[in-house]
């Protein structure tokens, strides 16, 4: 499936801003199931400096700086991606989760060693004893890891209420866990903290999810949203196992979308991955002057190459 994603972030300032520096994680990364065909970030007013670099996670990071006085700022990212859904797997055939944990910590291959970073607490996902109890209800002794992980996601979906008014961008994870409500990025952090407590490696994924209008109705502009979920790392096996054919290849990440209780599908577009939201914030920055300011975001995800003509 091919998509065009347009993600526009608009800032309106009360007073003029004299100087601003910003970094953005808006250009989709390459993934086994995803190709980025093209991607462009347009900034208005015209930035004096605009550069791109790759961060330690392999994400594409845009930096720009505006040195002329401005009252509004618009960051528009337009990308075209081709997504294929990861092949389905038989969760029941996966390794017991304790073995997965041991393999991870004994990993000596480059990918495994790199993935071990994602088993550590991070600023937005610090150690959470409460998450451990929540996770252990699904991760019973000897249970196949992907089966337990599938259920953990289902329980986050079922036991946490989706409520945009319950949290904001700075709400600590402990609050989300105790009040059992939040939005997709909160749920992603919950999932990551649960897996961390078990000694497993989990990462945060930011991206988009295509939404379809009710049958017969036109799609509204700007109605889509940026999205977030989490992924679990399956370390490489020391030797190939008999069940290999039915399970995902080792050394890969399995994505879970707890907001929609589903695995990664054709409609999930990955932008960036990190330890938590803070590593891959879509747009962040620092400005001088400006006074009060407001933020608005519009996202459109459109299918390409279908139903034309």
């Amino acid at each position: 499936m091919r998509f065009r994603v347009s993600h526009t972030t608009h800032y309106a300032y009360g007073d003029p801003v004299s100087l601003c520096h910003s970094i953005a994680h808006l250009k989709p990364r390459e993934e086994p199931h995803q190709r980025c065909l093209k991607s462009q970030v347009r900034v208005s007013p015209w930035p004096s400096v605009a550069r791109e670099h790759q961060d330690i996670f392999g994400n594409r990071v845009s930096y720009f700086s505006i040195q002329q006085s401005h009252g509004a700022l618009e960051v528009g990212a337009v990308s075209e991606v081709e997504v294929t859904a990861p092949p389905p797997h038989n969760a029941a055939l996966s390794l017991p989760w304790e073995q997965v944990r041991e393999r991870l910590h004994a990993a000596r291959d480059p990918a495994g060693l790199q993935a071990r970073m994602f088993a550590l607490p991070s600023p937005a996902t610090p150690r959470q004893p409460a998450a451990r109890d929540f996770a252990l209800a699904s991760f019973t002794p000897g249970r196949p890891v992907l089966e337990a992980a599938r259920e953990l996601m289902a329980r986050i979906y079922g036991e946490f209420e989706y409520d945009p008014s319950a949290t904001d961008v700075a709400t600590p994870l402990a609050t989300v866990l105790s009040q059992r409500s939040g939005v997709c990025q909160d749920f992603a952090h919950v999932g990551i903290a649960c897996l961390h407590e078990l000694g497993l490696a989990a990462r945060y994924v930011s991206g988009y999810l295509e939404t379809l209008p009710p049958p017969g109705q036109p799609k509204l502009r700007g109605a889509d949203a940026s999205h977030a979920w989490y992924a679990l790392y399956l370390p490489a096996a020391a030797e190939p196992s008999a069940e290999a054919a039915a399970t995902p290849p080792a050394g890969t990440w399995i994505d879970y979308d707890p907001t929609n209780d589903c695995l990664l599908g054709e409609q999930h577009i990955t932008t960036a991955v990190g330890r938590d939201y803070g590593d891959v914030t879509p747009v962040r920055g620092v400005f001088y002057g400006g006074g009060e300011h407001q933020l608005s975001v519009a996202v459109d995800v459109d299918r390409l190459g279908e139903g034309r003509g």
Binding site: I23, V49, H53, R108, P126, T167, V169, H293
Partner: protein, 863 residues
């Protein structure tokens, strides 16, 4: 008690008898069998010759130099605040040149090794990918700055400066007990120790053939020049300090001066066009390289700690773009992870193909199961160091001694180690070696740590010959702390041949620039200088007014309305209330029997540090402003600042209880303040910065004078009282003698106004201040494309015109029907005050308007 004390009195007992090192400890001066080590012989002979009295004299001389030079080290929470003097032992630590050469090889190897590790961790991460360093150790450590990964490092030695803390084991082998890679501090203190000690022990120093330090600092200059992206001679280097509140601020200012670098704080800087710029007066000056003394995580609120106000947003981007070099490289703090030591021997073999030459503390990293088991089994013999995690909420003690833990604390620690083993490191406890220290008239062995310093030169690391030794006062202090503090000790590496004397400046060295550029005046520095001028003048005026008032008060026993001079007193109190924004009760108009004497209130204006706007706060503000531009003030000026601070402490710490006692302090205080003014006139280059200091002084003097005249002369008093008031004003403005010489015919308000308002030749007159301001404002930098006259220039012009056109004879007359008030004079003075305040605002807006603190953009939540 016998007459002989058990300690070594140099006068009456041979030094050899009472200096006994602790058994099982290496002592620098004396071997285990009690024999003096030969390279100490000359020093010991010299000390014997000097005798206790001679050493005492030199010790006092050293302390005077330290105080006069304002050498301080500020510990957090120290009640002595910014003025805690640096302590220096008069005995140097002596090291043999041959032995030093061996140590030096080990240190250079260690620096190369750590540098290679740093390059790898922020580059290919081969050490992690090959399993030589566990990812948990690096990736879980707050010192590993993820945003700094992948930046190309100029010069291939991102670890430009390296400091190693050293001590000796019982057999005399040197060991590293700590690596300083973030912002290794102390080199400036080492230099100052050397300056002081070589002055108080000149012949000892000369004859001992000590290796000099200047070469090391020349290396620092070469290193910074080479690293700067635009190469060689023209590199503009700034030394970034967290600010005057930092413990080692003295050193930052000292080094900036010594090396000829501009001392800057984050707010002085701005990133534009992908490069770093210094905000100077009305201009931006490009900075090529930053020698940073702020920890890396605070350096860029865009990509590192968002809450930091010490850095400059975009700094990492400027480095990434290749337009700026920061030394040490951002992220170098990762090498301070105490657990890294456990892996260094293997890393040394892998990276350098050599065995590690210089041993360090035995170290166990709990992230490794075998190490963890050992640590838990031997907790009581070990020192536990938690490595700060990224998600640290509560601060925790840096170091725990296993033997000090009670059962509870032990259980808690074990639980924490089990929960996050990768965050805990254990090291053996060491007994540091000892060196002789002079204390209370005798010499005693005390534990010490030597910090050695290295700088990355083109072909390898250069080691400072010597370093900063620090001794603990108590004999049994475990010296695990890597904080500065304690007593400093100069460290002499003894050469076999004498060395040529050299300093950094005026050096005939092709590598150094012939002329060190005068460093730029940033807006912040100009702002501080302006306020130094204002506070110094305000304090001086206030002291003069307080003195005249106090003398009037002490001369009377009652406060009745009919008493002679009571009207004058009331006017003076009125003026004090205006100047100090105070509320001293006036004695006029109340029943004499119920009158409360104003004495306590006046006394509190002199002594109460809590009182807003009173004298102590004004002096404190002056000191703080002076501290912030420490590197701009000459050592003589600095000595006067220290005097002023001493007077302030005398006023506030042992507050005088009577006005007479207060006067005893106010008199020398006024002398110091006058000396300060004179020094800034005579000893500062009259450059951009000075113009602002002088403008501040002139503005303040003008405003104070107008305020004084308004609060004393507007209400018309009885002729005798009026005479006293005029005399008092002449006293406060130091114009009495001129007045007497010029107007023999007694005391008149009109004549007074003539002298202190309109006389452009009287340095105390209003007109003189405005005329000076005109000259200063014209000299200030301005935008070539700006308006013909700046707002400040227009303001001055308006003031001058108003003053010159004023009809003083008319203003001296009462103008209300009752003949009790000089209304026109009041309006005239008020207009002048407002005009001067507007001028001050115009200067502030034009030159000091720092860009405000940066704000963070709102972040969109993914839903």
């Amino acid at each position: 008690m016998s007459a002989t004390s058990p300690i070594a009195r140099l006068d009456d007992v041979r030094l050899d008898d009472a200096y006994v090192p602790a058994p099982g400890t290496w002592d620098e001066m004396r071997a285990a069998d009690g024999a003096l080590r030969p390279h100490w012989q000359y020093l010991v002979d010299t000390l014997r010759q000097l005798g206790r009295g001679g050493i005492e004299t030199r010790w006092r001389e050293a302390h005077r130099l330290i105080r006069d030079n304002g050498v301080t080290y500020n510990l957090h929470g120290d009640s002595r605040g910014m003025s805690r003097p640096w302590d220096l032992d008069p005995l140097p630590l002596l090291l043999r040149g041959e032995e030093w050469a061996v140590l030096e090889r080990g240190l250079i190897q260690r620096a190369e090794l750590l540098n290679a590790v740093l390059l790898d961790l922020y580059g290919p991460r081969t050490l992690i990918r090959k399993g030589l360093l566990p990812p948990e150790l690096v990736d879980g450590y707050s010192g590993y700055l993820l945003p700094c990964h992948g930046i190309d490092i100029a010069g291939n030695r991102p670890l430009v400066f390296y400091g190693a803390d050293l001590t000796r084991d019982a057999d005399g082998h040197w060991r590293v007990i700590g690596d300083r890679t973030q912002t290794p501090s102390g080199a400036g203190y080492a230099l100052e120790n050397r300056v002081v000690l070589s002055r108080v022990m000149p012949s000892l120093f000369r004859d001992s053939h000590v290796h000099r330090l200047a070469g090391f600092f020349r290396g620092v200059r070469r290193a910074m020049n080479r690293l700067a992206p635009h190469g060689a001679d023209e590199a503009r280097v700034a030394l970034l300090t967290p600010g005057p509140a930092n413990a080692a601020y003295f050193e930052h200012a000292y080094l900036a001066n010594y090396l000829g670098y501009t001392l800057v704080q984050g707010a002085d800087l701005s990133v534009r066009d992908g490069a770093l710029w210094l905000r100077t007066l009305g201009r931006l000056e490009r900075i090529d390289a930053v020698l940073r003394r702020a920890d890396d995580c605070f350096c860029d609120p865009l990509e590192l700690r968002e809450d930091s106000l010490l850095g400059v947003p975009g700094m990492i981007q400027a480095v990434r773009a290749g337009n700026l070099t920061v030394a040490n490289a951002l992220g170098s703090g990762v090498l301070e992870h105490p657990g890294l030591m456990a892996f260094l021997p293997a890393l040394c073999r892998h990276l350098l193909g050599e065995e590690l030459l210089l041993p360090h503390l035995r170290t166990w990293w709990c992230g490794c199961p075998e190490d963890r088991a050992f640590v838990l089994a031997n907790l009581e013999h070990l020192v536990i160091k938690p490595a700060a995690a990224r998600s640290d909420a509560a601060p925790e003690p840096r170091v725990m001694f296993g033997r000090n833990l009670d059962a509870d604390a032990r259980a808690r620690l074990i639980a924490r180690i089990d929960a996050e083993p990768h965050r805990f490191v254990a090291q053996e406890e060491v007994t540091p070696s000892t060196a002789p220290v002079y204390m209370d008239g005798h010499i005693a062995p005390r534990p010490f740590v030597l910090r050695s310093f290295m700088v990355a030169e083109e072909d390898g690391y250069a080691v400072m010959p010597g370093g900063l030794s620090r001794v603990a006062l108590a004999q049994d202090t475990p010296m695990v702390s890597t904080q500065l503090g304690g007593i400093g000790k100069d460290t002499w590496v003894l050469a076999t041949e004498p060395e040529r004397e050299e300093t950094l400046l005026g050096l005939h060295d092709a590598q150094s620039p012939a002329v060190v550029r005068e460093s730029d005046v940033s807006s912040r520095v100009a702002d501080n200088l302006f306020w130094i001028g204002r506070y110094a003048e305000r304090a001086e005026g206030m002291v003069r007014l307080l003195r005249v008032t106090a003398i009037n008060l002490t001369a009377r026993s009652s406060f009745a309305a009919e008493d002679d001079g009571i009207g004058c007193l009331a006017s003076l109190l009125e003026a004090l209330n205006e100047q100090c924004q105070a509320n001293v009760p006036l004695p006029i108009g109340a029943e004499p029997t119920t009158l409360i004497a104003p004495t306590p209130a006046v006394l509190s204006l002199i002594t109460d540090l809590e009182r807003l706007g009173a004298l102590p706060q004004t002096l404190q503000a002056l000191n703080q402003a002076a501290w912030s531009v420490r590197e701009r003030l000459s050592s003589d000026t600095w000595r006067v600042i220290n005097d002023i601070e001493r007077h302030l402490r005398r006023l506030t710490n042992q507050a005088p209880q009577t006005l007479n006692a207060a006067l005893d302090v106010l008199d020398p205080l006024v002398t110091s303040l006058v000396a300060f003014s004179a020094l800034t006139q005579e000893n500062m280059t009259h450059n951009e910065g000075w113009h602002f200091l002088e403008a501040g002084r002139r503005l303040e003097r003008g405003m104070n004078l107008a305020m004084l005249l308004r609060s004393t002369l507007v209400a018309v008093s009885a002729p005798t009282e009026e005479g006293l008031i005029v005399e008092a004003i002449l006293g406060v403005t130091d114009s009495l003698i001129t007045y007497r010489r010029r107007y023999q015919a007694g005391i008149r308000v009109g004549a007074l106004l003539d002298l202190v308002v309109q006389d452009e030749a009287n340095p105390r007159a209003l007109a003189y201040q405005i005329q000076e301001l005109e000259r200063l404002v014209d000299e200030m930098p301005r935008d070539a494309l700006g308006p013909v006259r700046t707002a400040a220039q227009k303001g001055v012009l308006r003031l001058i015109t108003e003053l010159r056109l004023a009809e003083l004879d008319g203003l001296a007359q009462p103008d209300d029907p009752a003949g009790s008030r000089r209304g026109a004079l009041a309006q005239f003075l008020l207009d002048l005050e407002t005009g001067m305040a507007t001028l001050s605002d115009a200067l502030t807006a034009q030159y000091f308007r720092h860009e405000e603190h940066p704000h963070h953009m709102l972040q969109h939540r993914l839903r």
